[in-house]
Amino acid sequence: MSSPKRILIVDDEQDILTYLSTLLGDQGYETVQAKDGEEAMQKVQAGPLDLITLDISMPEKSGIKFFREMKTDDRWKNIPIIVVTGVSEDFKKFISSRHQVPAPEGFISKPINQEEILDLVRMLTQ
């Protein structure tokens, strides 16, 4: 039996961290949490990850900065990132206008559609 896929959930809202951890945990994924970009980077460095769900508007290091660091570092750039945010459309446009940074592997708008995020996670972790 293969080990569970490991997913990092990044959001400054504890309730959303709890929600996504429980939802993904119920599907057999192992989850780790981070409350901002800085903590997220520590978790990335700490262990192997199969996927990251990322909020954009956070105190301290923002999701955009964390995303750029991830996608411009050869060590982490292949970890798929799903942007989960209330401003994902704006973020999509922003990222599209920056050609040197690749687009995230997935976008999910808040409020989250459970089926949609689970399908996306499943597809990106296969």
Binding site: D12, D15, I16, T18, T22, D36, M58
Partner: protein
């Protein structure tokens, strides 16, 4: 007495010419005099010019007889038509062969029109001055060194502008000229220029001004001054800002609601799956999420209502400590759930204040919730504390809400009371502190912020025991 050819000049002179003897009797007069004053024979100067029976008090002819020198003055006379005319009078001695003064020649020039023109010019100048002073905008005249040569009343009163001061020192409180400077531009090209400036009034208020400059030419067509005229557009800018803010609030609320719905979804998910799995711990965790986020929805809706409608505070005499006690009771449970130590230090003998109970309670709850939020998002400390303190002074009281949460940097401190500004990213509407500040002001009070990033915040609400009666509008509560 006057021989040809001088007799002819005497007659043709465009002035009143008379020859007087020592008794001031007119012995000769020219044509113009006869035309306007009639027959002079045997009559005295003062009889004809002044229609007096006695000599004038200050008679230049008499002085000339006395000292042999020329004299002059300005007088009003009545001509034979009964019209008052203004004359400039000069007297000069006429001597005989022995050098004795036998007569005096009196020359009077009609300056009635000149006087009239001078008077009209004075009136016109006064009218323009009044217009300059009273016009409802700021006007100053500046020279090429940007020194104020003249300034109207409004600009003197609001900005303290004085002749001799430099424009940028007075309006902008800066040592150097503005870049670009439209006064300099007008001096350079003679054209009208326009710009918008934010200037600081004598009272320290920021005033948005729409500024125009125009050249003032001298007789040779050179620009010797530039006139600067400014209109106060602060209210228009504030209105524009509010309209822009309406767009911002929709965006801000939309973002906030998305976050709230996601958290509510999460709570419902945990409740449902907790029930399905018979997992009580998960159920309770989910239920707390639901409760917490319903509270956030309520807060957001109330904030919006506060913002949407203003009304004067309903003042009543209330025990100051009762408000603090009530808020402490509500908050204590919530703080315990969030793992935050909570303290309430209230002076029991604080007395009463005149205040709108509901408004002050809402204000305090808002401050305390902000404090708890600041602790909740602070990941750098293990133990968090929120304290409410109440202190009484003879004229006022102080509520203090202190936390050791995430704190604020200078930018957040300065913008904390701005409408729709939130440091909570998507989780705040930017209304809470704006409304709290409005409530404090409506009571004649204020909120002070002492905060340091990563260390914590102290919010001090100072309220007078008796608010001024002519208070501003307070938010609906």
């Amino acid at each position: 007495m006057i021989d040809n050819p001088y007799k002819n000049y005497f007659e043709m002179m465009p002035a009143y010419l008379t020859i007087l003897d020592r008794d001031l009797r007119i012995v000769e007069a020219n044509r113009r005099f006869c035309r306007d004053f009639g027959d002079f024979k045997g009559r005295y100067c003062f009889q004809i010019y002044q229609q007096r029976s006695e000599r004038c008090e200050h008679c230049p002819a008499e002085l000339t007889f006395r000292d042999g020198k020329r004299h002059g003055n300005e007088e009003k006379f009545i001509n034979q038509l009964g019209n008052e005319i203004s004359l400039v009078v000069y007297t000069t001695p006429i001597t005989n062969e022995a050098g004795e003064i036998t007569h005096v020649m009196k020359m009077a020039t009609d300056i009635t029109e000149v006087i009239l023109l001078q008077s009209q010019m004075r009136e016109r100048r006064e009218r323009y001055r009044k217009l300059f002073e009273e016009v409802p905008c700021y006007i100053s005249i500046q020279d090429s060194d940007l020194r104020i040569v003249d300034a109207n009343r409004r600009i003197r009163e609001d900005f303290g502008a004085l002749p001799g001061e430099k424009c940028h020192q007075t309006y902008m409180h800066q040592a150097e000229a503005c870049v670009p400077c439209i006064v300099k531009q007008t001096f350079g090209d003679g054209q009208v220029h326009q710009s918008e400036k934010v200037m600081t009034s004598q009272k320290g208020e920021q005033v948005n001004l729409l500024v125009y400059t125009a050249p003032v030419h001298n007789a040779e067509g050179q620009i010797n001054y530039v006139i600067e005229m400014s209109t106060n557009i602060t209210e228009i800018r504030q209105l524009q800002s509010q309209l822009t803010s309406l767009g911002l609030i929709i965006s801000s609320i939309s973002h906030g609601i998305k976050g709230l719905l996601t958290s509510l979804d999460g709570g419902v998910y945990l409740v449902n799956t907790g029930l399905a799995k018979n997992d009580r711990q998960r159920f309770e965790q989910g239920w707390k999420m639901v409760e917490r986020n319903i509270t956030r929805v309520r807060r957001m809706v109330l904030d919006l209502l506060y913002y949407a409608k203003d009304r004067a505070p309903e003042l009543e005499s209330i025990p100051a400590r009762a408000v603090a006690d009530e808020v402490c009771e509500v908050v204590r449970v919530k703080a315990a759930e969030m793992g935050i130590s909570f303290g309430c230090e209230v002076d029991r003998n604080i007395g009463d204040i005149d205040a709108d109970l509901k408004a002050i309670r809402s204000l305090l709850i808002n401050l305390v919730e902000n404090a708890m939020d600041a602790c909740r998002v602070d990941t750098k400390k293990e133990n968090h504390v929120v304290r409410i303190k109440l202190r009484g002074y003879p004229e006022y009281i102080e509520y203090e809400v202190e936390d050791n949460g995430i704190g604020m940097d200078q930018e957040i401190r300065e913008r904390a009371f701005s409408l729709f500004f939130s440091s909570k990213r998507g989780n705040g509407t930017g209304l809470g502190l704006f409304i709290s500040n409005k409530i404090a002001q409506a009571h004649g009070g204020e909120i002070k912020i002492e905060s340091e990033l990563n260390k914590g915040t102290r919010m001090i609400l100072k309220l007078p025991r008796k608010p001024p009666t002519s208070g501003t509008e307070a938010p609906n509560v």
